[in-house]
């Protein structure tokens, strides 16, 4: 292969690389502490618990006329009668969907995130249950946050 034939190929590959490099990214600050339901008001369902100590950081590139969204999903269903809800605060210009019950389906959490965003926002988890859930030993679920081009 001659240099003259390689040059356009390398140029193309570098262009691809540059486009990948500027793709949207999302990171999180860590894992939240364990959510434990331990109490109830007599006559009412167990008292929900929540945690908002973790954050996510979303970075979006700068293509023309492009917005992004963040979805969330679990790696396994919650136990019966137990609900894990997440709320992602929205970066400026974006819209939080509000509290969303998480399951195996990727659920929209934040939409309309503008291009050229670099923002850190809170993640709030809420664990709720009915008495029908019974006693649930410590277990966990993996929440996957994904940032996508939207629409």
């Amino acid at each position: 292969m001659s240099r003259w034939r390689v040059a356009p190929l390398v140029g193309t590959l570098l262009l691809i690389v540059s486009r990948v490099v500027v793709a949207q990214t999302i990171t999180v600050s860590g894992n939240p502490p364990a959510l434990k339901i331990t109490a109830a008001v007599a006559g009412s369902e167990p008292t929900s618990v929540s945690n908002n100590t973790t954050t996510y950081t979303v970075v979006t590139p700068n293509p023309a006329n492009r917005t992004y969204k963040i979805t969330a999903q679990l790696n396994a269903l919650m136990p019966a009668n137990v609900t894990l809800t997440a709320t992602l605060a929205a970066p400026t210009g974006g819209t939080s969907v509000g509290p969303v019950a998480l399951d195996l389906t990727a659920r929209d959490m934040v939409t309309g995130i503008p291009k050229s965003t670099n923002a850190t926002q809170s993640i709030t988890y809420q664990l709720s249950a009915t008495v029908l859930a019974g006693v649930v030993p410590s277990t966990n679920r993996i929440v996957t946050l994904t940032v996508l081009k939207f629409p």
């Binding site: 292969m1 001659s2 240099r3 034939r5 390689v6 190929l9 390398v10 590959l13 570098l14 691809i16 690389v17 990948v20 490099v21 500027v22 793709a23 949207q24 990214t25 999302i26 990171t27 999180v28 860590g30 894992n31 939240p32 502490p33 364990a34 959510l35 434990k36 339901i37 331990t38 109490a39 109830a40 008001v41 007599a42 006559g43 009412s44 369902e45 167990p46 973790t54 137990v82 894990l84 988890y125 249950a129 009915t130 008495v131 029908l132 859930a133 019974g134 006693v135 649930v136 410590s138 277990t139 966990n140 679920r141 993996i142 929440v143 996957t144 946050l145 994904t146 940032v147 996508l148």
Partner: protein, 159 residues
């Protein structure tokens, strides 16, 4: 640099870039639900016996209150006792309406020994259930000036 080296270097760059631009992030959320057994009673009923039908024991009286329960366990029960026994000739009884799926033992006389009032309480959250206190006396009780007893209710036995 020959063509193969250039291509290899470019491929490495592409791989590195892809790794640095992850579009997903994960969190591990740990959770648990402990055993929950809560009961509450509302009201401080007053019971006064002040009449009788001639030839019969003094006429018993009743007073109402309410109670509520939440349990996420199976087969819990409610027991009750009083801190000191009733004066001779006086009987204080209580009857708790059972929540859905549970069984009421009906009116039970209260003493310092715990007595079962409701059994088979399983995974229920229910409030505004009736509590009926009854005070009965025989003439042997005589006149009893105003006094009180504290009724202690306990939820136990769930698994």
């Amino acid at each position: 640099m020959n063509a193969r080296r250039i291509l290899a270097t470019t491929a490495l760059l592409a791989g590195a870039a892809r790794a640095a631009s992850a579009q997903t992030a994960t969190q591990t959320v740990t959770f648990q639900i402990d055993a929950i057994n809560q009961i509450a009673f509302a009201g401080s009923p007053s019971l006064v016996i002040n009449t009788a039908t001639a030839g019969s024991d003094p006429t018993g009286v009743t007073a109402a209150a309410t109670w509520a329960v939440t349990t996420n366990q199976t087969g819990a029960k409610i027991t009750a006792s009083i801190g000191s026994n009733m004066p001779a000739g006086l009987t204080l009884s209580v009857n708790l309406t059972a929540p859905a799926g549970a069984a009421s033992a009906g009116a039970q006389a209260l003493t310092t020994t715990s007595v079962d009032l409701v059994t088979s309480i399983t995974k229920v959250a229910q409030g505004a259930m009736a509590v009926s206190y009854s005070l009965a006396a025989t003439p042997a009780a005589g006149v009893v000036s105003s006094t009180t007893r504290t009724v202690t209710y306990t939820i136990t036995g769930g698994t």
